[in-house]
């Protein structure tokens, strides 16, 4: 067993101090062999070898076999400042974690199924476990984690980090996930809304690179929007900007969990869509086992019932988005989430509905595109945000 196996925690203060000495030498003098590092720092060869192994697994150094005076040696080069970041994402049925280097490149990740809405304190406790376990298995010293960013599928008050009232995790209302996680993981924790993180990821490496005015819709059980205006996230005074799922579309529509009628969510939220499916459109599978990706798959293969359900969701989405476009005049609207994998089956009706409801001037330069980030957009956004918050 190595030290990292048995000591997750900050017992490794001495080790961290020694690591800083090694990094300092590499930064000052460039590539050095392990023997030279031992001489320069006064550490034993074994400690240097241990420290280098840790730095390497964290992506901070590269190691190359070479020779020095005819003997085999290992040359160590500093790639980037050491420092690890952790991203955690809660969704309704899952907790995911990603560990990244100081540039936000992923080093390790895991995910588990979990009943997240049931109990926020338990979910946070389990998330801390998942982060610790992932670090441990990747042999990354938890003491090196410099920032943690957490994605929550609910509005978050940016002033207090408190979870808002109306979301797909109602029992989380009023809860602050930050302090418990920070205590557990021993590093600063930032809690952020999932749609805000998804748009961050889309701008860093997706379809919205270089776009400064963008609204990204995250379609799931609810509908969230990450709004970036003039290159900056727009959260609103209390963090509820972008809760577009509760834009009212039909005064006689179904009652929504927010208490209003006919909200956008009641036309595009996953649970509502599943209820709209025709009775026997999935012969063979028991209806309980059908999930949204099955519906999207069936639609792509031409199943008329599935196509209709998705097209109507697109129309509702366009009606809601028309309002957003009139308000914010974005250059791009990105549609993310499983439903977006239906592509133009969703986006064409959405674009048509937008043409009816949007100012011509707001529409002329507006592109409506599907996200390229896949299901873990928020997790990636969290990793990027954490790496930016380092230094």
């Amino acid at each position: 067993m190595t030290e990292a196996d048995t000591t997750p925690g900050s017992q490794s203060a001495l080790r961290q101090a020694n690591e800083r000495r090694v990094v300092e030498v590499l930064r000052r003098e460039g590539t050095r062999t392990q023997a030279e590092l031992a001489r320069a720092t006064g550490l034993s060869a074994a400690s240097v070898s241990n420290i280098v192994r840790g730095l390497r697994s964290a992506g901070a150094v590269s190691v190359r076999n070479t020779s020095s005076n005819g003997r085999r040696a290992r040359a160590v080069t500093l790639l980037r400042p050491p420092g690890t970041v952790v991203a955690l994402a809660f969704t309704v049925g899952r907790i995911s974690v990603a560990v990244g280097d100081s540039d936000g490149n992923p080093l390790a990740g895991e995910q588990i199924e979990y009943d997240v809405p049931a109990d926020p304190e338990r979910a946070v406790r389990r998330a801390a476990w998942l982060a610790e376990t992932t670090l441990l298995r990747a042999r990354i010293d938890p003491g090196r984690v410099g920032a943690v960013v957490v994605s929550v599928p609910a509005p978050i008050d940016p002033r207090t980090g408190v979870v808002g009232d109306i979301s797909c995790v109602p029992r989380w209302a009023g809860f602050r996930p930050g302090p418990a996680l920070s205590e557990r993981l021993g590093s600063p924790v930032l809690v952020e809304n999932d749609a805000n993180l998804a748009v961050t990821a889309e701008r860093a490496s997706g379809v919205a690179q270089g776009v400064d005015h963008v609204v990204q819709l995250s379609l799931d059980v609810g509908v969230g929007a990450g709004i970036v205006m003039s290159g900056r996230l727009f959260r609103g005074a209390g963090g509820t900007a972008g809760e577009v799922g509760h834009i009212g579309l039909d005064q006689r529509g179904p009652v929504c969990r927010c208490g209003n009628r006919g909200c956008l969510e009641t036309f595009v939220g996953t649970d509502y869509l599943m209820d709209m499916l025709p009775r026997d459109s999935f012969r063979g599978a028991g209806l309980g086992a059908v999930v949204l990706t099955d519906v999207v798959g069936a639609a792509l293969e031409g199943d008329p019932g599935s196509r209709r359900v998705i097209a109507e969701a697109g129309t509702a989405l366009g009606q809601g988005t028309a309002i957003i476009a009139n308000l914010f005049n974005p250059e791009m609207i990105v549609v993310g989430g499983e439903l977006a994998e239906a592509g133009d089956l969703l986006l064409d009706p959405m674009r048509r509905a937008m043409e009816l409801g949007t100012l011509g001037s707001a529409l002329s330069d507006l592109r409506v595109v599907a996200s390229t980030q896949g299901a873990d957009a928020a997790l990636r956004g969290a990793l990027i945000t954490a790496s930016h918050s380092l230094s």
């Binding site: 997750p8 900050s10 588990i112 376990t133």
Partner: protein, 266 residues
């Protein structure tokens, strides 16, 4: 506070010249997960075996069940009280299917006469449902299951006798992340159902994820009892390694010869 289900005080156990447990106190409440921690050889497995009736304790200690003194001299005594133990080697039968394994060794739970396969399967489904465990088919041989699924079947089997205390010796040691998570879920569910759970583990992340309390043994003696929520990782590790001893208490332990450790020098 209510009476603990199981309460032990002054429990000692010697194997020849080896004193594996020295006047150990221990308790488990209903709806509580207690982690039993300590270095290799600290006496954790020995304590579990004393509770399970596999190694009766030396004379002198007291074991109470629901506040009443009891004697645990054999595994049958422990089972009758409602104590179930899942040892590290799970002793599942690879060639039997899940239903067969669940009822293996639980023959006294069968209805009189021959095994009623239909009834056994019905109860197996009911049991696994109550634990929210989903297994593709109850009729696959357990050899085909993952390590985590095997662990869960072993735990499920121990629940057929409707125990009130379940002891798990290193249940997550060889498991992957998702499988470990499933076992942690199961432990939480047992706690929610009001059982007392004793968890032996060397993995502090797992302990901090589900335990309410950590009871530390060192060299066969009590070395601390900590509420997990209010105790740092470092404090618990210090208790395990003995780093928290101040020099005075360390010296007195060393000089008080009978008070020490596991082995008398011969």
């Amino acid at each position: 506070m209510s009476t603990p289900i199981l309460e032990m005080s002054g429990i000692s156990k010697t194997f020849g010249a080896v004193r594996a447990l020295s006047e150990v106190d221990f308790q488990v409440d209903a709806g509580e997960v207690v982690a039993l921690l300590g270095d290799n050889g600290a006496g954790k497995s020995t304590l579990v075996k004393v509770i399970a009736g596999a190694h009766p304790a030396d004379n002198g200690g007291v074991i109470s069940w629901d506040g009443t003194p009891v004697n645990i001299g054999t595994p049958a005594d422990a089972q009758r009280l409602g104590i179930a133990t899942i040892y590290q080697d799970l002793a599942l039968c690879d060639n039997l299917d899940i239903v067969g394994n669940l009822f293996l060794g639980n023959e006294r739970l069968h209805f009189p006469g021959t095994l009623d396969e239909v009834e056994m399967e019905r109860r197996a489904v009911e049991l696994l449902d109550s634990l929210s465990v989903s297994i593709p088919s109850l009729r696959v041989p357990v050899a085909a299951l993952s390590g985590g699924q095997r662990q869960i079947i072993a735990i499920a089997r121990s629940l057929l006798g409707q125990p009130r205390v379940v002891m798990l010796d290193e249940p997550t040691a060889a498991l992957g992340v998702a499988q470990t998570a499933q076992v942690l879920d199961l432990i939480e569910r047992l706690r929610d159902q009001g059982l007392g759970v004793v968890l032996i583990s060397h993995n502090m992340a797992d302990v901090r994820a589900v335990a309410d309390r950590a009871m530390v043994l060192r060299l066969g003696r009590n070395a601390g009892d900590f509420p997990i929520a209010d105790t740092s990782y470092e404090e618990i590790v210090a208790a395990i390694t003995g780093a928290s001893d101040n020099p005075v208490s360390r010296r007195s332990t060393r000089t008080g010869s009978s008070a020490t450790a596991t082995k008398d020098k011969e």
